[in-house]
């Protein structure tokens, strides 16, 4: 169609007006954003997720958890905001429970060896239980050992009832096991059988001896909750933290002041501080009188700062300064903590008594901001057996007094010092039954494996130790159905116990055992869940992840304080000429002392100080390395006074004291899944099987070593150096506010 002049002018006019009009309107920003041409996949997810509250015991630690479950599969673990111990937060090991559940190397069904040393053959659970009963039936009382890790809550009740009824010898195993030293110190000082809480959140000043309570010691998530408040809590001034220890740990890095003290001398240092504040009259008068038997500072004269300075490696004026800070009324409440390598010495109990007595001298016992006593638990606890007793047990295995070993996640073949040859002792036992979910070193020697659930699949309860100062019972419920043909450990014992005709078992199965405890709690008609009927109580308690009663606190009474020793205990003389370095073993931030080495997330979590992962290394001071002619990644032989050696690469750590060789624990497994086996070296293997003189606990911090070079090198895998630090001239990456 031909365009007329009139039509042209009409269209041109409309277009011009349109251009003016549209040019005046702003196009919404979101319309010009570049968008993905397709729906993002996260919008396409169908199905509903459910959250289940549960609880998990992770060694000494305890965390209340929420598990996100979708289509029957556990997807994510989060802290339970209601749980008083971790209040919504969680650590690496709790997160990695997902990997334990879906681990590719889990034992998927019961296994038996037809002939000693032969291959495993798959069997059914009925046959497995029958075989377990046959093993127990044919033996005299005391011939059978049941070894478990530290257990708490209802499963501990079941294990104890089974052991009492069947007459098996029950022993708790923890590779480090020094919590028993701290517990004994607190029992002697304050008459406490359960570990007190440390009220870090309300303390103004913390003096810590050796315990890496922000990294790996006891319950780091719980302590970290308090630490955040201690530093920058609303409505309070910033607390001051002083750390005394031989290794620059996570807690040392967080501290305002780190003091290196010779390993094993922490008790002397604490006594010197006690002497100073008693002598200067700044200590609590009643406590000072009781702790010195009424003699005052004179009773502790042997520990005067000038007298102990050379043994501790800490200048007398620094000791005096620490004493002044601790006793300063502006620093109240002050809290003193001790543990870890400071307790794992031949004089460990002396050290811990000296350390924890300081709390009495500054008036911080059973007070906010200090030690807060916990009530007795409502369920049983299986505690660590001392190294002294384990030595006897191994001797009994060799002599034939123990003919059968039942073991659940207590890896004796890996975790006891190499010199004790636990592997050899286990080999001399007629029958070994393992209830482990993974083929660890001890389970490898088993004749029968009855694999048990992982924590997300089973019923139970957990009472944190330490609790928050009042009765707290976390309820553990299955968040998912069992992924393989496994049973709950409690159910296996209850089933076998029933076959054996044992009475006084806490229930027919673990669910019933947990319900019977819930009924007891319901009848108290108090605490976090109070419901008219048990059905409602059970439902609400499971929904909340547990039951706690803030009024159920410890009995405040305590016995008269005992007098402190007036002389230090004798310890074996060290061969410091042949073995010039103190070996400071430390737990891996993820893998611990090896119990979590099978979990990839635990392995790949960088050590906070070195950023190293997946391996073992030895940390040396730059000057020490220079003297030995060593540089980073040189493979060295670390030989202990036992004559045993490990070969590990060097990591030169500028914060390592010159007289220290620090080596992480957790690696060097021969078995324990493809993620753990044949990786790094096991430092537990070269430790002296030394004991605390009084408790018999393992003095794993008391070994000396020498380090010599080889011609080999091996790069330490680590995060450090992967991303180069980019810095601008005149601009810091990390700014510091000077207080």
């Amino acid at each position: 169609m031909p365009l007329t002049r009139r039509q042209f002018l009409k269209w041109a006019g409309v277009t011009s007006i349109g251009a003016v009009v549209f040019n005046g309107c702003r196009v919404p920003d979101h319309e010009i954003q570049v968008q993905s041409p397709v729906e993002m996949p996260e919008d396409l997810v169908t199905g509903r997720d459910n959250y289940y509250a549960t609880a998990a015991q992770l060694g000494m630690a305890s965390e209340g958890l929420l598990v996100r479950v979708m289509e029957g599969r556990a997807k994510k673990i989060e802290g339970n905001p209601d749980h008083p111990v971790n209040t919504g937060k969680h650590g690496i090991r709790a997160e990695a429970l997902l990997q334990a559940l879906y681990h590719p190397d889990r034992i998927k069904h019961p296994l038996i060896r037809i002939a000693k040393g032969g291959p495993f053959v798959e069997i059914g659970w009925d046959d497995g239980i029958r075989e377990l009963v046959r093993i127990l039936n044919g033996r005299d009382q005391g011939e059978v050992l049941l070894a478990t890790p530290l257990l708490r809550g209802r499963v501990a009740d079941v294990v104890k009832a089974f052991a009492d009824g069947s007459g098996v010898r029950l022993q708790g195993f923890d590779p480090l096991g020094c919590e028993s030293v701290v517990r004994e110190a607190l029992r002697q000082l304050y008459g406490q059988n359960t570990q007190p809480d440390f009220d870090i959140a309300h303390a103004s000043y913390i003096l810590n001896f050796g315990a890496d309570f922000l990294g790996t010691w006891v319950n780091p998530t719980h302590f970290s909750r308090g630490y955040g408040e201690f530093r920058q809590g609303a409505g309070r001034s910033r607390g001051r933290l002083v750390h005394v220890g031989a290794r620059y740990s996570t807690t040392a890095a967080a501290a305002d002041h780190w003091v290196y003290a010779t390993p094993g001398s922490e008790g002397l240092l604490a006594m010197a501080i006690a002497y100073t504040i008693i002598d200067e009259g700044t200590a609590d008068a009643d406590a000072a009188s009781a702790l010195t038997g009424g003699q005052g500072a004179r009773a502790l004269q042997a520990f005067a700062p000038d007298s102990v300075a050379w043994q501790t490696g800490v200048d007398a004026h620094v000791i005096t300064e620490l004493a002044h800070e601790l006793a300063d009324s502006h620093n109240r409440p002050a809290l003193v903590i001790g543990g870890g390598p400071s307790a794992a010495q031949e004089n460990g109990l002396f050290n811990m008594i000296a350390v924890y007595a300081l709390n009495a001298l500054v008036g911080s016992v059973n007070r906010p901001g200090g030690l807060v006593f916990n009530p007795e638990p409502v369920s049983g606890r299986i505690r660590t057996t001392s190294l002294r007793d384990w030595k006897q047990t191994l001797a009994d295995m060799r002599s034939g007094d123990i003919t059968a070993v039942l073991v659940r996640d207590a890896d004796l073949a890996y975790g006891l010092p190499g010199e004790l040859d636990a592997r050899g002792a286990l080999r001399s036992v007629e029958t070994i039954v393992s209830f482990s979910s993974f083929l660890d070193e001890t389970s490898e020697l088993a004749d029968l494996i009855l694999p048990c659930h992982t924590p997300l699949e089973e019923w139970g309860t957990d009472e944190p130790n330490p609790g928050p100062g009042y009765t707290t019972v976390g309820f553990q419920q299955p968040a998912v159905r069992p992924f393989h043909e496994t049973w709950s450990f409690g159910d296996v014992l209850l089933s076998a116990g029933s076959e054996l005709g044992l009475s006084d078992l806490p229930g027919a199965d673990m669910r019933e055992a947990v319900r019977s405890l819930a009924m007891e709690l319901h009848e108290r008609k108090r605490g976090s869940v109070v419901q008219p009927t048990f059905v409602e109580f059970w439902k609400r308690t499971l929904e909340r992840g547990g039951w706690w009663d803030i009024r159920a606190t410890a009995d405040g009474s305590r016995p008269e304080l005992p007098a402190l020793p007036s002389r230090p205990p004798n310890v074996s003389p060290a061969d410091s000429k042949r073995y010039p370095l103190h070996l400071v073993p430390f737990e891996g931030i993820g893998v611990g002392a090896g119990q979590y080495a099978h979990l990839p997330w635990a392995q790949s979590a960088p050590d906070p100080i070195t950023s190293a992962v997946w391996d073992t290394w030895v940390e040396l001071n730059p000057h020490t390395a220079d003297e030995l002619g060593l540089k980073n990644n040189d493979v060295v032989i670390v030989e202990s006074s036992t004559g045993r050696t490990i070969r590990v690469p060097v990591y030169i750590n500028p914060a390592t004291p010159p007289s220290v060789a620090a080596v992480p624990m957790g690696q060097g497994h021969r078995a324990f899944t493809s993620y753990a086996a044949r990786r790094g070296a096991n430092v537990l293997d070269i430790l002296e099987p030394a004991e605390d003189a009084e408790t018999g606990a393992f003095a794993w911090g008391a070994t000396r070593v020498r380090v010599s070079g080889t011609t080999r090198t091996r790069v330490v895998p680590k995060l450090e150096g992967i991303e180069p630090a980019r810095q601008l001239h005149g601009e810091e990456l990390i700014y510091v506010h000077k207080a």
């Binding site: 920003d29 997810v45 937060k89 990839p600 997946w614 630090a725 990456l733």
Partner: protein, 237 residues
């Protein structure tokens, strides 16, 4: 480029984070929580040895001083979600862009793996998938269905857990402060990390944003990050 003010005007939410270095202990809980939530490939030993480990949030450790007066300081580093993001302008295929809520977003199926964005990021917060991520069959049960598994050859980085943001704000829902958090913030045991809506003056993150200790890393570059750090406090040692 959009500035914070412009972003503020066009959406209800402007997501931001404050990390208090005085509370951070370097414990790595944030690192592993992020890996679990966001289907990050397993970082095996060779990934670290080859310099190919993928961590959307990493904790850097810096030394200060010499023994015995030495101090380790920690800096958690994640995508800073810069308002003037240097990574966005160099992407030839618009795989990375700034969304209306102040997030620096990565469109995985648009990315062709030039790695220009990674080179241009001054925080080294962008990571390249050199290999196809592989999980053993059983471990795949844990993967988060809300998050895409990234294939070989593309870039990835922290999203502030956008899947959680989407779930909480879907349909234009107004969310209360602290109603949800990214996985790292949720896990952090010392409460060193605070996340929230900077457009809400009452939100916890807005209040910390104005703290006298607050600063941005590499501020002089003018990238205007949505992450601020609170200075560590050095008491007299």
């Amino acid at each position: 480029m959009a500035t914070r003010t412009q972003v503020k005007n066009r959406a209800d939410h402007k997501w931001g984070m404050v990390i208090d270095l005085d509370r951070c202990t370097g414990c790595q809980a944030c690192v592993i929580a992020c890996q679990s939530e966001n289907n990050i490939p397993l970082n095996d030993q060779s990934a670290f040895l080859d310099g190919r480990a993928i961590e959307w949030i990493r904790v850097e450790r810096y030394w200060e001083g010499d023994y015995p007066d030495i101090k380790a300081r920690f800096l958690p580093v994640l995508c800073q979600h810069c308002d003037n993001a240097p990574c966005e302008s160099v992407c030839p295929v618009y795989a990375t862009y700034h969304n209306s809520e102040g997030l620096n977003v990565q469109v995985y199926n648009r990315c062709v793996g030039t790695r220009f964005c990674g080179n241009n990021c001054p925080y080294h917060a962008r990571l390249f998938n050199y290999w196809e991520p592989v999980w053993p069959e059983d471990l795949r049960n844990q993967l988060n269905p809300d998050v895409t598994v990234r294939t070989r050859g593309i870039m990835e980085k922290c999203t502030f857990c956008i899947q959680r943001i989407r779930r909480s704000t879907r349909g234009g829902k107004q969310v209360e402060d602290q109603a949800f958090n990214p996985a790292c913030v949720q896990a952090c045991p010392t409460d060193a990390m605070t996340f929230g809506n900077l457009n809400n003056p009452d939100s916890r993150v807005s209040q910390k944003w104005e703290d006298e200790r607050a600063y941005r890393v590499l501020e002089a570059l003018g990238t205007n990050p949505s992450v601020k750090y609170l200075k560590q406090v050095d008491a007299h040692a």
